[in-house]
Symmetry: C3
Amino acid sequence: MAVVAGVRVFGSKGPSWLRCGRWAPLSAGFCSPGAAATPRREAEAPRPTSSRQRDGIRNIVLSNPKKRNTLSLATLRSLRSDILHEAESKDLKVIIISAEGPVFSAGHDLKELTDEQSPDYHTEVFQTCSEVMMLIRSHPVPIIAMVDGLATAAGCQLVASCDIAVASDKSSFATPGVNVGLFCSTPAVALARAVPRKVALEMLFTGEPISAQEALRHGLINRVVPGEQLEAETMRIARKIASLSRSVVALGKATFYKQLSQDLRTAYVLASQTMVDNLALRDGQEGIKAFIQKRKPSWSQ
Amino acid sequence: MAVVAGVRVFGSKGPSWLRCGRWAPLSAGFCSPGAAATPRREAEAPRPTSSRQRDGIRNIVLSNPKKRNTLSLATLRSLRSDILHEAESKDLKVIIISAEGPVFSAGHDLKELTDEQSPDYHTEVFQTCSEVMMLIRSHPVPIIAMVDGLATAAGCQLVASCDIAVASDKSSFATPGVNVGLFCSTPAVALARAVPRKVALEMLFTGEPISAQEALRHGLINRVVPGEQLEAETMRIARKIASLSRSVVALGKATFYKQLSQDLRTAYVLASQTMVDNLALRDGQEGIKAFIQKRKPSWSQ
Amino acid sequence: MAVVAGVRVFGSKGPSWLRCGRWAPLSAGFCSPGAAATPRREAEAPRPTSSRQRDGIRNIVLSNPKKRNTLSLATLRSLRSDILHEAESKDLKVIIISAEGPVFSAGHDLKELTDEQSPDYHTEVFQTCSEVMMLIRSHPVPIIAMVDGLATAAGCQLVASCDIAVASDKSSFATPGVNVGLFCSTPAVALARAVPRKVALEMLFTGEPISAQEALRHGLINRVVPGEQLEAETMRIARKIASLSRSVVALGKATFYKQLSQDLRTAYVLASQTMVDNLALRDGQEGIKAFIQKRKPSWSQ
């Protein structure tokens, strides 16, 4: 699959789930000052992520194992591009993010964070990283992390930010920034929303890794399987989601995150309206009728 | 126990915990347009819930096992009525919600959600359901779910909404709406406030059930016991609560949910004031004096 | 180490993390009406807490085992003083709070809560208690609870309020206020932010204790070890934290709690700025350069 910064996707103002409010639109990174020349340079180097899609399932792979799949600015942009590519296409139902090599991702590239780079550059790194993490949440399809190895710092943040995560039993997770004098404050945003507070604080204050089993127990990941079953188990979940109505799942995902930060009453007002809207979707009625008629539903998308 | 929509309870504006703000008062359902004729018709059909009370413990039973205890609009209204009945009586200390048959509740009645019914009707269904769930939280006494079997969709929401839940080891829990094209967005409101985010998302995106043991591990329920011990264990907890001061428990429950969504400082301002108010209650002083005098307290209510 | 209410620390308005907004500054307790005479009287009685510091690790010990280390107003003030003492000193890296005797803390002293004391006095007790709990969170260094025994009511709140908690396997935790007619509403503030909602509600409504293993499973504590390993395990974590840069850890801790109650986008704006600020710290650059140069970092503080 050719991966291009999809003009179709970003036409005019882009879909509503891309409009970010406080910060610039997510697509702005593609045309921010200084970035104009980047694509050309990037085109010369191998892309740090790769992407292929089949039967509604897109596999995005962090493919720079020699650099421990660090989330350099180039990698973050490439990842963002792969996630955003034809996001509105009805052929896309679910995304899996995985990695080549024994390290899922070692987080930011520390060489980009020395004082040889300006604070403005540092700001761009963290802003782009935050945008990718928020993009996972605002994206219309579920995004699954498939982890086989070590995920640290922003790599751990990436796992925490995905909707679902499956990991091999040899995987581990850490936020070790304190060891190099850079507290994992942005990873903490995602981590603190995934695991109990004290678990997050111990990881952040000591930098020590937790095992896949501990990550499972605390809610950071959904399943732990032997390495040889990792792909099969992840694909089982992905295929299940790909068999569902995209429009129904997209509506549900958007409302889930929207209601989460509201008080109970506001959450119910939002979610009740979503239920009524869901019933007004073609696939909403098709699903219910198929159930009553005891037949398989035929989704419009 | 005769169950009547208690005029005493709903006199004038009703107690303060019933005033809902944004939506109509919870009691409005009893006199909403179209509902006026309902009681007569309902009187002809057997009530879909039953209720009895003894020693301060009210047992409300979903009693329509042939229809898998679906939360039809009639069932939701019946459940609401049973929960609200003489809610202010000092004879009521705790409520248990259970069900007849192998399914605790299969959630909404899908036949009520086809396009043969108007969007207004759909709105009434979800609004009534949300009111029942919020009523559990705003009710002055603790409400315990006793689950022996499958709880799905709004049935799972009901379990998640109760203050405490006890389940038999054969019970399971699911939000399978996606399978019929109706994402469990309202159940997600309660689910997301009970379990870690990724657990909720996997349940919502795949529709697959989790076992009682998994539900226990993730905080959806409090205890899992063999089926034959379910009632004994639930009653043990209920009797303990029934032995306490109703006014003290009611004050504590209300403050618990109130402080939950506040920032830490506001939460402590609220809760500190509650402690002082609690000490000013007759039962507050009685309890402390009994403790100091090494005797059993004698509660006023 | 002599423990004095550090004039240096509380000079003028004190550091920014002490400014509390709605309530009076935390240091106000030291000069509130009626408290002026207290030090003299306290000087005659043995202090209810003791404190010593070595190699950056401060050990504060609740040292009134005969009174089950109740958090009387005098104890709360003494604890506050020990926590605040030279809090800005670069020699302080981490605090451990532990207790003498088989009870970590039995919570408030009920004799202070009878109607022989005025509501104003009760207010002062709960306000001081809340200040101590919030102080743990706003303090620049991580604070670890080391628990070997029973922690109930405000004692359980103290454990829940610490950043990290380690407990011996014989420890247990309860919020039994309902038994004496005083619902644990202020402990609930900390408890509800540490464990799943239903776990908190069962503890609050029944007053029954949970074991160290249960507390671990639900996130109330971080580790459970045999009693004879408790100090070694706690010190291992403390020494690790003491080996890190104080300024980096302080910045990270402050941002962690700040972003926690924000929506995701605001949280990322805050945390991204913190990352940039962290990189501008001397220790931020030192850590990264040491990493790149494969040497041990040398922290400025």
